[in-house]
Each structure stands twice: as C-alpha cells, then as structure tokens.
C-alpha cells in the first residue's frame, strides 16, 4: 500500500492542441510547490499522481498543492494492486481513520476506468459497502448525504480515498505571459496580483516609495506581501522605485487638487517602462470603481491615458468586503494592515478632484518636465527576485 496524492485539473481539458503545453506548465508548478518533499510527479490519462511523499508530510504537501494554479482538486489516496482483498483492506483502513468508533453515515463511490477489472462499478459499490458494514457496526448507509465518502477508482492501480480538497483553480502559472502589478502595500493590490496570476500570468511588481516620508518598514512590508503572492504566483520580479523627487515636484508645481491623479499617471508611466523592460504586455492595478477619488471612472480614464499598455483591474467590480475576504483567504490581509504609511497617503490633498478631465490633466502634467526625474528614478530602481520557498 502506498500513499499518493491524486491531482485533478479542470479547464486545461478544453485546450485542444495546446494541452500538452498547459499540462507541462502545471507539472512545473506542482514540482515547484513540492520542492523539498521528495515528490515524484507523474501524469497519466488526464490525472496527475504525486508519489514518494513521506506519510507524515502528506498534509503539508496537499496544502502546498492548494496554492498551485490550475489544480482543481486534490485527494490524498491509498494506491494498491487491482486486487479485491487489497482494495477491501485499504478501504477498511481509510474507514477506520475517518470513522473510528463513531456513528457515521457513508456511501461507496467507485469508478472503473480499467474495464479489464472483473467487477463493474455497481458491484464494487455494493460488495464493498457490504464488507464495511459488517466490519464497522457504527456505520450506516446514506446514499444522499453521506458523512463519509469512500471513493474507489480502478485505473492503472486501484486508488482509495475519502477527501477531495479543493485546489486554487485557474490556469497554470506561466501560461499567459507576463504583466506588471502596481503594488502599494495596501489590501487591494496583492489580491489583484493573485487573481491575475490565477489566470496564468507571470508577475512583475512595481512599488513606489517616498523616503523619508515612508519608512524602511513600509518597504519590507511590500517585499513580504510580494513573497506571500509568490506562494501562488511563482517567482515575482519586484521593482522598488524611489518616487520622492517626482512627488515633491508635483506638490510644488501642479494644482493641489490634482496631485493624486497626476501621481497615478506618473506611476503608470514608470510601471509601463519597467514592464516593457521585463517583457510584460499589460499592467495590473488593484483599483475598484469608486473606492476613492482616484478610482472614479473619470480618474481611471485619466490614468489610462498616460499609458499604452492594457491595464487589468480585476477588482473593478468588487466591494471592499469581497476584497478583504480574498485577502484573508490568501493570507495577505494581516500584512496589508500593518500601519506603515505608503507613498500614496503622504501628500493626499484635502479635496482631490473626483472628475478630472484628460485634457486638463495633460496640461497640468506638462507644467513640469518630468522626463529627467523619471530617468533618475529608473536608474535608482532596485530589483529583487522574490520567491516563496
């Protein structure tokens, strides 16, 4: 009897001729997540099997797999010979672990992919149910809502399992190209990065800091948030851009009401340049429509006007509550709410413009020659390769 992890994947099935590419990327993702587990990953007939993990580390391994994009679900299973007694023993062992002496309702689900096996699935359900009822007097059958599902699959081996742990879903990392995430240190941007990485994007991230108005701890916080996102997204290239000079120039020379939107435009510009350098084709932001003054429809039009790349805003239709829920689920919330000021909040005007016009903002921006400052900022940008493990 061997313990294995059964990994199911979803959407990739739809991928026609590109399917091998997606499957390969998924296996890369799994291998990456299981580094150090001594896992052997094998693909067969639309399933992925993970062998070679020590029994006491199974839980940690399946937990790591829940963070791999492209994985639909995971089942820790026992793999045995396709031989009736072995199947019964494994099922009994599983029932013992799950039910023990407690009163539990159960049902057997079986699937016979190998038609060479002498019993069909209905017979397996029946016979195995019968044996388990005899051995465990506390069991009762409930075919509608069983507490314990004893699942049997007859394939190249027989697999017996109870639990199906939901995976992260989405598309395997590295199947959709690269995009650059603007990351501030707040709650939204890590969630936005997570959601886009879930669709297979590889991430670059761009963070702007305004030393001495922001502290070194704010910087560490962003590095940590990026690391947390990279647990799902794989390695992230994080660019740390010094932004003080530009911010001060905006503050001194441009209309006070427009400082935030102007700052957003310049951030987008710089992010686009770094994105191009990285070979990224789009920008990602954590903006949600109407959340703050710089996220009204008019403001978003004005920020979009500063760049040519498409800007992905996966949170655009989300309420704050929904975003917080995801942030908590993916484990970025606690870090996001650490109270270090980020550069967006340092010079917030009292009454920011909520309906800026593209034409006016272009004029305001033209009041200062930002190009040399942008060049300096790019020159002083520090880049880190951030990885989870």
């Amino acid at each position: 009897m061997e313990q294995v992890l059964l990994v199911r994947y979803g959407e990739i099935h739809l991928k026609g001729l590109n399917r091998p590419f997606f499957e390969r990327k998924l296996i890369d993702g799994i291998n990456n997540a299981l580094r150090g587990f001594g896992a052997k990953v094998r693909r067969e007939q639309g399933r992925i099997y993970v062998h070679g993990i020590a029994p006491e580390r199974m839980e940690a391994a399946s937990d790591a797999l829940t963070r791999v994009f492209g994985v639909h679900s995971i089942s820790p299973a026992m793999a045995v010979e396709k031989e009736w007694n072995a199947i019964v023993e494994a099922a009994a062992c599983l029932t013992e672990q799950a039910a023990g002496g407690k009163n539990v309702t159960f049902k057997v689900f079986s699937r016979r992919s190998d038609k060479g096996f002498p019993m069909n699935s209905e017979t397996i359900n029946h016979e195995l149910g019968h044996v388990l009822l005899e051995r465990f007097p506390n069991l009762t059958v409930d075919v509608h809502a069983p507490e314990l599902k004893v699942c049997v699959e007859i394939r190249e081996q027989a697999f017996i399992y109870a639990a199906e742990i939901m995976g992260a879903g989405g598309m395997p990392s590295g199947t959709a190209g690269r995009a650059a995430l603007l990351i501030s240190g707040g709650i939204d941007s890590p969630v936005a990065g997570y959601l886009m990485a879930k669709r297979g994007l590889t991430l670059s991230a761009v963070h702007f800091y305004s030393y001495p108005y922001t502290s070194e701890r704010a910087r560490d916080k962003v590095v940590e948030l990026t690391r947390l996102v990279s647990r799902y997204a794989g390695p992230v290239w994080l660019h740390l851009v010094p932004f003080t000079e530009i911010q001060l120039a905006i503050y001194e020379k441009c209309p006070p009401k427009e400082t935030t939107v102007l700052m957003r435009r310049l951030m987008m510009r710089i992010a686009e340049m770094l994105a191009e350098r990285d070979g990224a084709l789009a920008l990602i932001t954590g903006e949600a429509l109407g959340q703050v003054a710089s996220q009204t429809l008019e403001s978003l039009c004005v920020t979009d006007d500063a760049v040519e790349m498409p800007v992905f805003r996966p949170l655009i239709g989300f309420d704050k509550e929904d975003i917080v829920t995801i942030a908590k689920r993916i484990g970025t919330f606690e870090t996001s709410i650490l109270p270090y000021e980020d550069c967006c909040t340092v010079f917030v005007p009292q009454h920011p413009v909520t309906k800026p016009e593209v034409k006016k903002l272009r004029e305001s921006e033209a009041m200062v020659d930002f190009m040399p400052m942008i060049a300096t900022a790019l020159e002083k940008t520090e880049t880190l390769a951030v990885e989870a493990n």
Partner: protein
Amino acid sequence: MIYLDNSATTRTLPAAAEAAQYYMSESFFNPAAAYSPAVESERAVNAARARLAGAMNAAADEIVFTSGGTESNNMAIYGSLGAMRGQGRLVVSAVEHPSVYEVMKRLSPEYDVVEAGVDQQGRVDVAGLAQLVTPGTRFVSVMQVNNETGAINDIPAIYKLVKREAPGALLHVDGVQGFLKVPFEARNCDFYTVSGHKFHGPKGVGALYVKKGTRFLGGQIGGGQEKNLRSGTTNTPGIMGMDAALQYYLANQETMWENMRTCKLRLAENLLALPDVLINGPAPEEGAPHILNVSFLGVRGEVLLHALEEKKIYVSTGSACSAHKKGKNRILNAMGVTGERQEGAIRFSFSAFNTPGEMDETAAAIADLLGLLRRFKRR
C-alpha cells in the same frame, strides 16, 4: 553614526560585554549547584546584588534579579496584589510605561483603577494624586523619570502622601529611565524597577527592589531561585554584565552626568535658535540629564526621523515600544501637547559617550532638513 536614542537602549560597555562573556564561557556554572566553582558563581552574583542594592541605599536581600523592566513592573503589580485579600483601588499615573499601564488596564474593572494626571511638564500632579489616594487604595505606581520628556517626579513627597492617605497601600516606582541618572533612595518606595540595558548593561536583565517586610508573592514559579520570588536558572552572564556597567557608572557618575547634561543643554540651545521649535516637558536644565523632547512645528516627527536616519543620526518619535503603533502619543496627550506640536515631536536621549560636537552636527543637519521638509507640509 550619532546615536541619540539612549532611552530606547544603550550600547553595552566593553567591560560589561567582557563580564558577560566570562560568565558564559569560563565561569558558566549554575550557581545553584553544589560544587565549588558553582559556589563561586553564586558569590559573584551575590556581590553584584549587594552593589546594586548599595546604589539605591537598600539591603542586598531586597533585590530580586529579573529579565528586565517589563518583568519587574509586571511582577511588582501581580506579586503584591496576589498577596492581598479583596479588591480596592489602584492608582496609576497617566504616563506610565505600557508594562505598568496595560497591566493596570487589564486589572479593571476587578479593581477600581484610576489614573493620576500630569502637568504640562509631564510630572505627576501631587495635589491631584492626593485626591485619588483614598484609604481603600492598595497600590500606586508612579515612574521616577518620564521616558518621553525627562520630567522628574517628586517621589519622596509621593511616598509620604501615599503612606499618610492609605497606610496599607504600596508604592511602586518604575526606575527604568531614572536609575543612576537621577539620585534615588529606595526608602522612598516599596518597589523599584531597574533595567540593565538602559545604563550600558546587556539586554534581558534587570531587577526589582522589594522593601523588606512587604507581603509579596513574586513572579514565576519553579526551582525557587531568588528566595523563591523569581524562579528560573540564574542569568549569571546578564547579571554580571549589568554589574560591570553599574560599577563603571558608579565610579564615573559625576563625569557621566556632566557629559549628558552638557550635550542636552548644547543641543537644546542650538535647536531653540531655529524657528518654530518648542521644548516639551521641563526646561532643559531642570529634567533628567539624558532626555530632551522637542517639537518642530510644520514637520512630521516621523519624516524628520527618517531624514536624519539618512545622515546616520538616530532619534525617536515616541518611545520605541510604541513606535509601531499608529495614532496619538498617549504621554504627550496627557501633558496637553497635541496637534501640530505632537506630530512634530522628537525625543533625543543622550549617553555619557555623546559629545558636544555631535550636538552641533545634529543641530546643523536638522536646520538643513527643516528648510526642505517645511516646504512640503501636508495640505
């Protein structure tokens, strides 16, 4: 580097580090063991105990070694309330360190916890305190020196007041900032807290003075060390390191006071020459010699701190223990220092190893930065 955050911690003296090293790698024995090298360790610890007691005019058997200020403060409160029957009133000054203040907050509403206000300098208002100390009062806690402003409390007067109004009450004095910096006699309190790393000893060691005859349960329970008041294997490296720092301090006390005071006055004079600069707390020549709190109007303290950091000058806004918490400064609030003045507050704290030259350099750096930073006020 110019280090002006000595109230957060100080650099360990070489002599203290050497002593600690010796008791780690040479005389590493457990003083509770029975053989002669262990007995020698025990003697050394007891000699250190006697010297520490001497520095506050107490007896050696009134000193309990602990892991530092927080433990001593916690232990003084819990250890004495645990030995009393029934509830009653607890009086705490509004500006105490969290290791006193938060403990008291937790004891409410089981006890009637009341806060004693401070004056504009940050000193406990003695007349106000007299109103609060009722006959049913069990415990009073007042710090010797305010860690934000350097204000010195009149502990002898407070002790007399407490014993007069509530003879059964105990007075605890947090001496973490005050010990060795400002003269102190243990007879003016029932408990006195000392922390080693504030006077160039190592971190992780401190002491609690407990007046002879006080009903006191002590702190953690175990093998019965420290006369069963504070169990745990004796921290010989820490204690002997702290002792070395203490001996250095006692041998050089006058010079050290003089050096700190000179630096403080020099920096205050330099800074007051700049526009829109205000001193928080007592006049510089009055308070403790090592703490100076200054507000720079029109600048946020945190921004000035980071700008100074770029020049390798290290200062603090609020005490380091609360620098991570956003929001208003409780201590300055209690003194009535609010708004722009609170936002722009910086605490400079000196050691005897700072120099007047450093003060001039710091003031010049600040003068430069103020010009720049004041251009960019939050609108």
